[in-house]
């Protein structure tokens, strides 16, 4: 299920995660499950595995991180796993999501942030992985086998 842009503040179950310096969140209902770092997608024999596993660090133009968790979503073309550093506290929290201000919306490209969660002093962006998938499909920065140098 794809996420929906927040029009007015609404409550949702969220999973907080980290990629490098970014603290981000994703709505629980929009993902399939969370796997470890050795996740393999359920694909046909012809498909390449590396098309299905995506390093969020690469997507966010960060140096390679020590990803420990893979967030798996279900897309029309099959599963896709996004490798993130960690799942904060390994827990799911119930919070209000605030809508993205129109001015800021114009500055986010691709529009993969659907809302914000205000947690103490931090403003955590809620990522829609389906939009990330749509925006980067075909031009997906593929996973580098372990041991290779950073870009």
């Amino acid at each position: 299920m794809a996420g929906e842009t927040v029009e007015k503040p609404r409550k949702s179950f969220l999973i907080l995660f980290r990629v490098g310096e970014y603290r981000l969140a994703v709505e629980a209902f929009s993902i399939q499950y969370i796997a470890g770092v050795n996740w393999t997608p359920q694909v046909g024999a012809e498909e390449e595995d590396h098309d299905r596993i995506v390093e969020m660090a690469a997507v966010l133009r960060l140096p390679p991180q020590e990803g420990k968790r893979t967030i798996v979503i279900d897309t029309p073309s099959g599963q896709r796993g996004f490798v993130v550093d960690s799942i904060s506290n390994e827990e799911i929290i119930l919070r209000f999501i605030e809508p993205v201000p129109p001015l800021l919306e114009g500055w986010i490209k691709p529009t993969a942030i659907t809302g914000f969660l205000v947690e103490q002093e931090a403003v955590i962006g809620v990522v829609d992985f389906h939009r990330v998938d749509q925006a980067y499909f075909g031009r997906m920065p593929s996973v580098r086998p372990k041991g290779e140098q950073a870009r």
Partner: protein
Amino acid sequence: MWCRVRDNGTGFFRCLGEQGHPGNGMRKLIGNLSVKWKMALATSLILLLAVAAMLWYFPRHQRQALESGMKTKVTAVAKMISWSLVTEMDAAAVSMDVKPIEEVIASAKQDQDLIAIRVEDANGSRLTGWNDEEINRLEPSAVDKPTQVFFGKDTLGVVESIAKDGKPIGLLRMDYSLASFHEEDRAAWRFGFLFALLIFAVGSLLAALVGYRIVRPLASMTSTIKRMAGGDLSQDPLPVAGHDEIGSLALAFNELLTQMRELTSKFNIMSTTMDERTSQILSTAKQQEAGAAQQAATVSEVTATMEELAATAQQIAKNAEAVTRSADDAANAVEDGRDSLVTFVQSMAGIESGNKTINDNIVQLNRHVQQIRGIIDLINDIADRSDLLALNAALEGTKAGQAGKGFLLVAAEMRRLAENVFSSTAEIKQLIAEVTEATNATVMATESGMKTTREGADRAGEAEKAFGRIIATNEETTRASKQISLATQQQHTGTEQIVLAMGEVAEVSQKWVEGIRDTTRSVGELSGIISQVKALVAKYRISRT
């Protein structure tokens, strides 16, 4: 030849004859006449026939009567005169005196109709006469034969033999005027004619009257029915005069009018009611259809979600099983580790008692430590996987809403256990570090070495306790993951049941929607029929407004 009939809208049936057929014009003409004229015509014809017959018969009869009357009179007079003349004739023949004869015929002249008279002798020569230049020249008949009477145009000719003792001695000729005769004849004709005319007039009048009496109610009925057909049911009933067929017809017609009014008003009420009902039904059906469609949509949503849940639950169950297996492995490994530890302690004791060399013991010790490290890594891995399992269980719990609350609880529990494991393993690592440090410091079997090994033994004892905790935690973990397995299995069955139930609901819903569609269709048809009826009935006004 039959007429082709067609109602051209005026209520009359027109005879459309075939082209060129003789007599059709007449038929058309007659056909279009009103009944009373037809009756009058028929009666007139009959009367005319009667009158004609009468006219033919009556005067004729009268004339014959007159004729025979005259004939008788004339014959009688002729005979009388001829008898009277018998004696006179002899005298006349002798004395040539015609005066007595003249006296006789003078009496005959009293009849004003006599216009000529002549007496002839036996030879046919004139003895005497009056006005007899043009008198008739009829041939006399034999003596005993009747008087010859001849009806001419204007005169009646009589010739009578004057016979004495059976021998003709003379001839009497008389001419009577037929003027009065004709006069009477004509009078008779006039009378007859007038009478006939009278009969004709009265008869026709009567016929017309009767016809009118019949036709008038019919005509008014016709116009009433026409108005009825046009839609006006508000008219007065027809007057019922008498109990004859006309009266019965009027009565029957009035009944019909009443019935039609009742029927029409019933129709109106019925059609209005039905209209309301059908629109009610239609709207209800539409609502129901919408509701059913919504329900169907919701059902398929729920079914889809349930199927997703079922699939993921299966996955979790598998993972839980895997964790259980790993936990069992870990338990075994821990047992081995414990054995190693015991051996280690014994080794330490052995060192104290000095049965073995320290170096041997250290080598053994290192091996044990390696084992323990391996076990700890395994336990960490399990703890990590349990963490993940707990997280995903919680994830499913958020998706399942109410149903997943149990998941959340178990997940929280598992997370707590995992944390315990992590802290325990951290502890163990710490202990091992210290043990290693301690044993590395042990180089010689000196008193200080003894002391250090004792310290190590203490540490080992603590490590054992930690192991015990791990085992207990592990057991709990196993139990918890088994619970999750069970819960997911139950959920799976429950989900399956829900999916089945949803399928049934979907089927029922589908049938319901079909039923509603059928109803809607039938109601639509019914509505159409009602509209038609309404349109028909709308033509008829019942009240005079």
